[in-house]
Point group: C2
Chain length 386, copies 2
């Protein structure tokens, strides 16, 4: 199999972007990516895979050609990939395949979502469409409710505390405060976050990610092309993905995202690395408890010890495995389809030594992007060649 | 690059399927595919890509895990691929990549759509979401209207007649009459079809495909696995795809689908074949004029001569290049996301010498699957190894 490299990445500002459509947001991300790389004619990009759940704005289906048009790549094959909040992780996976196979030398993976220009009622409905509708949503379950079940179960089984869970939000707001692209740049205190109104116990409003407009993209290339375009080679050394039952009631455990475990195992096996080799990671913290589950599912700690990773500062910038150094979904924002390649953008910046919260000596990074409440997950491992 | 083979295909009955959800429809298709192939444990399928525009039924987003669940493949990576009516052609493309790369040995590509269990108003809206919304739909354009523009322009430029255009429907109904899975099994006369009420001049109700519930799937495998599973090897020798502007007004020509031309050129180049080598084809006849454009875009005839292909019987079963031998979108039906792999199902049956309208000696087949009004197209070329 051919080696595949990440040669560029870009991201729009995340947040409320009333004056930009999804084409404009995607163009922002694309133009930044193009600035990252020399000797690449954008027209040499051969194909694009675009993650989005419902993209918003005027177009309601068949949006990939419009995205291609927005960056002047009409003519090239483009399609949309959807796996709820895990959409662009899978778009990236397929772009990887296209280069590993030898069919493409340069491919674009990206994502885009507009969540703010729809009515509040529709917004509340939005997250619901990514959960199980037949049995859970129609019984009144919401996305915060689903994750609250996981949180209370984790507290019950492992003694995890609210302070540990909500601590993930405090850390991620701190990281986002230095990130000019983040939706929330305010730092929060643990005390304030714990006392905030509950959305679904034990999750307060500070435990939940916001609704975000945004876009992101990554450029993948073969070894030959990568070496022409940059001296800073980042290889995609591990690729993994899995699914699980959409409805929580069908799963064996509420404190484990089986899809993530499978994805991480595959990615580490392919990379011939272990979780302890990772220098920096971006994980899917749509709710704070999700970040704690991610630590355990990826293997950064043993089952049940995710809470301690927070309370002991292990995943802070400066800790042993800094996580969500860009602010995570919680504070950087969560433009659903754009989140997966948005995580890859952060790791790209880290491995290029250009991050706003740079981790010293970061050479190996990981992304963990979840769809729904864990019905799908993709994990990617990146390694800077020295 | 590794060779990739089509080792099985399956399809649900197409039409109005009130009593089946999309999970049940997909399971119908999958079970038929599993019957086609010996020595394959379904659990050895490593990944699935599922085409769908809006799938219908209860789930409104994040449906790929439910599809995986419906065929007991939960755990494996699954994602949805969307390119309007071209969705599962692109799902098949990504499944091809996954095996060509060496990452997978066996992959599933499929599609599913429920179009009948939603209100009539919503249904009329449906096709609109696949066209350009900002400039065309909001100005009152409909999908039949878009294709009617292409038809009148073709008549104006090349002297194509209504008899030639509508003749595609007569042919396809004739083919569907022998296909037990087809939505319409009635034959129609050219006279009756021409006198039917206009939907958008020159297209009458008989020039337009129906709204269809249905599912389809294909199993792809590496050479090693394919040889273990079957003696009847069908290689995927050509793969191509392209995009074009979503809105008609942005295109250079109304009588050419540029995305299809690009897709076909790529596929033939890769296959080292020409359009004249094709023994049987399935093309995207969402409206009769689309079939005539397909002949020209794929290269079965010169520009402007598509009408003659019909009036001279060249694409009839028994003609030089039989097209849409299963009945096409027009008469077999058009369950949007399931159409691409539904076409592949027909070619699979033809190259296995098992088709209801068998083309004698068919060894090389082609599929042509369009998204929107031509904003995307994928073309695949298949060759039976002898």
């Amino acid at each position: 199999m051919r080696k595949v490299y990440l040669i560029a990445a870009g991201e729009s500002k995340f947040g409320t972007q009333i004056t930009k459509g999804y084409e404009e947001l995607f163009a922002d991300a694309f133009l930044e990516a193009m600035e990252q790389v020399e000797n690449l004619d954008p027209n040499d990009i051969q194909e694009g895979m675009i993650g989005s759940l419902a993209f918003g704005g005027s177009q309601l289906g068949n949006m990939s050609a419009l995205v291609a048009d927005s960056v002047n790549l009409i003519g090239k094959p483009f399609a949309r990939v959807e796996n709820a909040c895990g959409a662009s992780g899978f778009a990236f996976r397929y772009a990887f395949y296209s280069i590993a196979s030898g069919m493409n030398d340069i491919a674009l993976a990206g994502g885009v979502e507009k969540m703010q220009d729809i009515s509040k009622a529709t917004r509340l409905y939005w997250f619901g469409v990514a959960g199980d509708i037949k049995w859970e949503r129609l019984s009144g379950m919401t996305f915060p409710g689903n994750y609250a079940l996981m949180a209370t179960r984790h507290m019950h089984e492992f003694g995890t505390t609210r302070e540990q869970i909500t601590g993930a939000a405090v850390k991620n707001h701190k990281n986002a405060s230095k990130n000019p692209k983040a939706q929330f740049r305010n730092q929060i205190s643990l005390e304030k976050a714990l006392k905030a109104p509950f959305v679904a116990y034990p999750l307060t409003v500070y435990d939940c990610c916001p609704l975000t407009d945004g876009a992101s993209c990554a450029i993948l290339a073969s070894e030959e092309v990568a070496k022409k375009c940059t001296d800073e080679l980042i290889e995609i050394v591990g690729v993994g993905a899995g699914t699980d039952h959409l409805a929580l009631y069908q799963r064996d455990s509420l404190t484990r995202i089986e899809a993530a475990k499978k994805a991480a195992q595959q990615a580490f096996e392919m990379a011939k690395l272990t979780p302890q080799d990772i220098h920096v990671a971006e994980v899917h913290d749509c709710f704070t408890i999700a970040e704690i589950l991610a630590y355990e599912d990826v293997g950064f700690c043993k089952k049940g010890e995710g809470g301690k990773m927070i309370s002991e500062g292990i995943t802070e910038v400066g800790g042993k495995i800094p996580v969500n150094t860009g602010g995570g979904l919680k504070a950087k924002g969560h433009p659903i389809g754009a989140t997966g390649t948005g995580q890859i953008y952060e790791i790209f910046k880290q491995l290029r030594n250009e991050h706003v919260n740079q981790v010293n000596g970061a050479e190996i990074g990981l992304t963990h992007n979840v769809g729904g409440t864990g019905s799908a997950c993709s994990v990617h491992v990146f390694k800077r060649a020295r």
